[in-house]
Symmetry: C3
Subunit: 213 residues, 3 copies
């Protein structure tokens, strides 16, 4: 296994766990049981990729490699048992950055998968990359009856979409720069998320509908 | 391009835009940003057909022709910028009739697509035609945490289902009248929607569950 | 038709009807119309299996046998007309047990279908069996803006998942006991549901997240 593969493997495992842990945090004030935590953890971790694969008509990724499911299960049980830890400010920040790496990588992977199948280029890969990264979280919030990330001012789905757009443009018009484009696009997502986490940067007022009222 | 093709092409473009604009109107009181408006616009415009194609196991229609996505994007940005216009009574009525033409056409198209694939005749095409026309709007409302059209007294999904039923019956038992059946079924949808828009006709009281209470 | 086939056929018909009737009960306080009751009835009855088949990339089961749709329709109309009957304590209990037989059987069927396709063994069949049995009810609750069964303390999805897990383990490690395993797993689901219905057994306190607060 090369260094690059090891890094990607590590981010995949940590990212899947981070997604599942986000379900624990989201469920905290709903008094749900451990089974529901596991269900929501799995949905958050693999839901986006599942929707992507159904739309692409590709075999669902966790039918080929079930480790995504087992990691999400394990992380959910861990989060259920030790959730007060995750509410500690320092650990929460580590968690937020692992989540950021995860959405960046899943966004780039989803965009690449759609592009490599020649699916509705160059627009559709942007949509499928975004669904891969944020779809699971949106389904989780719908099931928890919480406002989803689409309804908040937080910069979460927007950097993801920008990264997917950047990568899809690179893949479509300069495929020879595919690798550097992937790094650049993921970096863009991480950078904007960093501004959001560290400097509380939010969606600017002019970009809010009906902001005059 | 024949006159018929031109009419269908025009209704498709206008209808896709009208669906996306409905997301702008639905999002107005939620203070969402332009990105969310675009996401909801795309979901409203292509969501129903996407669910239909996943159920039919057919290639998703916007992977073959991405213009649906670009039209929905453009209409969402337009609606975001000029939404006060759409609240003007006269323009709103024009909008409602474009939306009516769109649901009528998408319902008929969805029914036909399922029928032409021999999918669960004669019942399933009714379901898939209805999903095509109203599925996107329902997903939009779930994401916006609004009561969906299934929970209102407005005559919206009912005329769609009646039109799909009519068309599926014609296709199943008198396929030689396919074209006249399509026009008749679309006309039925438009007529009932017209009664709803113009005369505020709603679901009759006896058809409401538990209406005695 | 052997006795076994007759029993399975009967449970399928009664179970599909019971699922549709649950939509009538769920919709009672929302003042919806008969069309919405039918839509929710169909979604509850076939929604879980539809999601399963999309994930498995198998032909959707009701495209092959539309009787599921017609039974769900008929049960919804019956439930709409005679819902006060279903609120009678004695009849409600009969209904609860038919529903219990239905979830047990659909869970076992869904697990078997995923296993027989070699789909992500041995973990994924558990997920797909659970989706088959409870997926439709969850979509119904989302559309009705009610807290879904994932947010209640009732033992509903948990026994289903335990039954699917049992059956998937039997199928994966002792496939020669497939039939007895199916009966055992369904029996486990029915037994826990019985404890829930008859003795009001609920999720134990230690299994609730943040239960100290």
């Amino acid at each position: 296994m090369s260094t690059g593969e090891f890094v990607i493997e590590s981010i995949t495992i940590l990212g899947t766990a981070a997604f599942a842990l986000s379900a624990v945090l989201a469920a905290l004030d709903k008094k749900v049981d451990i089974f529901t935590v596991i269900v929501l953890g799995i949905i958050t971790a693999v839901g986006g990729g599942t929707i992507r694969d159904c739309i692409l008509d590709a075999p669902v990724f966790w039918s080929i490699d079930i480790s995504y499911i087992t990691i999400a299960c394990a992380a959910s049980v861990f989060g259920f048992s030790f959730f007060p830890l995750m509410q500690l400010k320092s650990i929460n920040k580590v968690y937020l950055y692992i989540d950021t790496l995860a959405i960046a990588m899943f966004a780039v992977q989803g965009t690449y998968k759609a592009w490599s199948m020649g699916f509705g280029l160059p627009v559709a890969p942007v949509i499928l990359g975004t669904i891969t990264a944020v779809g699971g979280g949106i389904v989780r919030d719908v099931l928890l009856q919480r406002p989803s990330l689409l309804l908040t001012k937080e910069l979460y789905a927007i950097p993801v979409a920008l990264g997917c757009l950047t990568y899809s443009l690179v893949l479509s018009f300069a495929p020879q720069y595919s690798q550097i484009g992937a790094l650049l696009s993921a970096g863009l997502i991480v950078y904007i998320r960093h501004l959001s986490i560290q400097k509380q940067m939010v969606v600017p007022r002019w970009a809010i509908i009906n902001h005059g009222k």
